[in-house]
């Protein structure tokens, strides 16, 4: 736990910097809000039809889901990488275990490219 004490100091300094930047912006910047300045930024034909947050392709959702699943799988590589060097003395047990794990993972990747749901090619 002692190792993270300086991180606490760094946290405080980062907070100080953020608050400092925030107050500098508040104090120094001149302020005369004209209605044209406060409107939404439009370039080209101004067409503020309804809420700007129109839904669109689900490929963004698919990218986020695949990132989540592969991030979880990548997180399991870290403990394996940590103990792999010592485990080599007892033979290739860990190597085979990881090859099976990675085989199924690569199967998932092949499935993604074959179904081409991310519209990659």
């Amino acid at each position: 736990m002692e190792a993270f004490l300086p991180v606490g100091f760094l946290l405080i300094f980062a907070l100080l910097l953020c608050v400092g930047l925030f107050t500098v912006k508040r104090l120094l910047g001149p302020r005369n809000p004209v209605s044209s300045k406060l409107s939404v930024y439009e370039c080209g034909v101004a067409s503020p039809e309804g809420n700007a947050r129109a839904p669109f392709k689900t490929s963004f959702y698919l990218i986020a889901v695949l990132f989540l699943l592969f991030d979880v799988e990548a997180a399991f590589f870290f403990p394996w990488a940590l103990v792999y060097r010592e485990s080599l003395a007892e033979g290739p047990a860990l190597l085979i275990a990881m090859l099976i794990y990675m085989g199924l993972l690569v199967l998932g990747l092949v499935y993604i490219f074959r179904k081409d749901c991310l519209k990659l090619n």
């Binding site: 002692e2 190792a3 993270f4 004490l5 300086p6 991180v7 100091f9 760094l10 300094f13 980062a14 907070l15 910097l17 953020c18 930047l21 925030f22 500098v24 912006k25 508040r26 120094l28 910047g29 001149p30 302020r31 005369n32 809000p33 300045k37 406060l38 409107s39 939404v40 930024y41 700007a52 947050r53 669109f56 963004f60 990218i63 986020a64 695949l66 990132f67 592969f70 991030d71 990548a74 590589f77 870290f78 394996w80 990488a81 792999y84 060097r85 080599l88 003395a89 290739p92 190597l95 090859l99 990675m102 690569v106 990747l109 993604i112 490219f113 991310l118 519209k119 990659l120 090619n121």
Partner: protein, 354 residues
């Protein structure tokens, strides 16, 4: 931990953090002069001798300009957006090793903010929080351009976090420990007589992956698509005022410095000079603190080489299209990362089998 320890660690953290914050103005002038050099034009040289006061002028201009918070904006998240990018970017510095240790008042202090034993995991975990600033900033400014820019930028950062994780994982596999400090310790001495014993020569593919993913993580060219001036008007920070834009830039440069520090620590031997071992250096220089100073200088020189590379690549390579970007990440980098992991594991197995 008596009081002297606390004060010295606090001062050390403050010095390291200010050193990192100083990267921003230096990079402002280096980037613009570097770009000018490559485009055969003089670049900013009006303000002060050789334009060295240009960053000060930029910062003051950003502060003095008017702050407009548009009406239809979710105020809380809009104002918080840029700081959500700056905050994780400044927390990641804690794991970077700048040198071995220096002795003060008879006690040894590490030239590193905190000796975190889960170094790489800490950097990946805190580094992945930068997405929220972009997501909340883009969403809160309630503007078609900034929303699409935020979605594209965060899906790009997301897609390139997996190859980053895989490259870091193969480094951990080779060094056998998470802590960046141990990684730098194992990189001392020479390998095959002439080459310095650096991680780059054991993990060339891993380094390449990390290098490419580092560009994508910091939204630098050629992965600059989210802020393309042509299509999306400025991506997720369209509605933001000058100082927020400055905060986003500061976070980007700090991310660049941290990524370069990581690449130096993992692949280019941290604070080791190529062919000279620390012990001989100690005899030449005599005092421990002088050696510590030299180590910090070597790390800073190596980091600045990487920063210059960031600038150099920015002004030479064209920008990727969004689907090319995604295809590179999902079709090419992730399989290469997995293959690199398998090859490293096999090599380690056969070497240990003899």
């Amino acid at each position: 931990m008596e009081w002297t320890d606390l004060i010295i660690t606090a001062v050390k953290t403050a010095v390291i953090y200010l050193g990192m914050v100083q990267v921003v103005p230096i990079m402002l002038i280096v980037e613009r002069r570097g770009a000018a050099l490559m485009q055969d034009r003089p670049g900013p040289n009006r303000v002060g001798p050789f334009g060295l006061f240009q960053p000060i002028a930029d910062v003051i201009k950003m502060m003095m300009k008017e702050v407009t918070v548009p009406r239809q904006v979710n105020k809380a998240l809009f104002l918080l957006g840029p700081f959500l990018v700056l905050f994780p970017a400044s927390l990641v510095i804690a794991a970077l090793p700048f040198g071995d240790y220096f002795t003060l008042l008879g006690r040894d202090y590490l030239l590193q903010v905190a000796n975190i034993d889960v170094g790489i995991l800490y950097v990946l975990a805190i580094g992945s929080l930068g997405i929220y600033g972009i997501l909340f900033g883009g969403w809160a400014s309630n503007n078609k351009f900034s929303l699409i820019g935020a979605m594209r930028s965060s899906s790009q950062i997301i897609s390139y976090e997996i190859p980053l994780g895989l490259a870091a994982c193969s480094a951990v596999l080779w060094y056998g420990s998470f802590s960046l400090r141990e990684m730098v310790y194992t990189q001392e001495g020479t390998f095959l007589g002439i080459l310095p014993n650096w991680g780059f020569f054991y993990q060339p593919i891993g380094f390449l992956l990390f290098f490419i993913a580092a560009f994508a993580e910091t939204n630098r060219l050629p992965f600059d698509l989210p802020e393309t001036e042509a299509e999306l008007v400025a991506g997720f920070h369209t509605e933001y005022g000058p100082m927020d834009f400055g905060t986003f830039f500061m976070a980007e440069y700090m991310n660049m410095a941290t990524m370069s520090g990581l690449m130096v620590a993992m692949y280019f031997g941290g604070w080791h000079l190529p062919w000279v071992s620390d012990v001989t250096l100690l005899q030449w220089l005599g005092s421990r603190n002088l050696l510590a100073a030299l180590q910090v200088v070597t790390v800073i020189v190596k980091i600045s080489v990487f920063m210059l590379m960031f600038v150099w690549v920015r002004w030479t390579l064209p920008r990727f299209r969004f689907d090319q970007l995604m295809r590179l990440a999902w079709r090419n980098l992730i399989p290469i990362g997995l293959i690199n992991l398998v090859i490293t594991a096999l090599i380690m197995y056969f070497r240990s089998a003899q």
